[in-house]
Symmetry: C2
Subunit: 156 residues, 2 copies
Amino acid sequence: MATDYQLDDFDREILRWVQRDARVTGEEIGASIGLSAAAVQRRLKQLRKVGVITAEVALVDPAAVGQVMTFIVGVELERERVDMLDAFRGAARADPNVQQCYYVTGEADFVLIVTAKDMDDFEAFTRRLLFDNANIRRFTTQVVMARDKVGSSVPV
Amino acid sequence: MATDYQLDDFDREILRWVQRDARVTGEEIGASIGLSAAAVQRRLKQLRKVGVITAEVALVDPAAVGQVMTFIVGVELERERVDMLDAFRGAARADPNVQQCYYVTGEADFVLIVTAKDMDDFEAFTRRLLFDNANIRRFTTQVVMARDKVGSSVPV
DNA sequence: GGTGAAAACCCCTGATC
DNA sequence: GATCAGGGGTTTTCACC
């Protein structure tokens, strides 16, 4: 696991850079923190290997690809049995409209971040994942009017 | 704006690739969809230029850098005045513990995805952003027990 | 263990068709 | 859009601390 990997200050600086922009060159990072480009690349390789960096991905503007709507859906299951939890998790993970899925304490059991092309698309999603599922007691929907901060930049 | 840019099937295939892995080579993408590497790069450049691809970033495992806890916080403002909304947005966006901030309809006004090193760190966050703010009526906290799906992969 | 320097390699870029 | 030549970034090797 990556949990026991000890970062030093150079690693943290590098992570701050690549969390903003993964295409920045090792040379530029190195110049800003006083390291050679090769050293930066070596550290990046290690950070990937040990799992501190889980992936390097392109972020796509949902509106630009026709996924103009975003919803936050709280889901409460009928019965909290492990097999039912796992079944729901699997279905949520596999659903293309589900961007994120959190298993939480509190009122809801799961919180989902969902995008959809339009209301019909969202309704199709709710039928698919929620209504046609006897194990779901109820769910709440919040419509996102503005995404003020996105991504998953972690403070390091 | 990027909203009026028309994607074709090649673009969509490319977006599926780079949303999973931004380091994949143009050659590999091209081979899988029947395009030359140069053509793929040209399309990627265009997708960046028009804003379909908003960024290419490294994803960091929060647990690996000591941010082991995740929370979902619903925030209800005292009065929904535009200047107060904007003030809160700005503060949330600037806060290092806030990973995501959504302005929503429904019970809450904002939904935040927050990470913290531990409960003390989270408490410090709530003081900083929530308690020391007369404009906040109340907030709810849900503790994330499992992050089943993360990132912001958009179906294209 | 770590770094920096240089060469080799690979990929991206731009020009051309 | 494809092909090819040129430039740039990454990766490896090596010597060094």
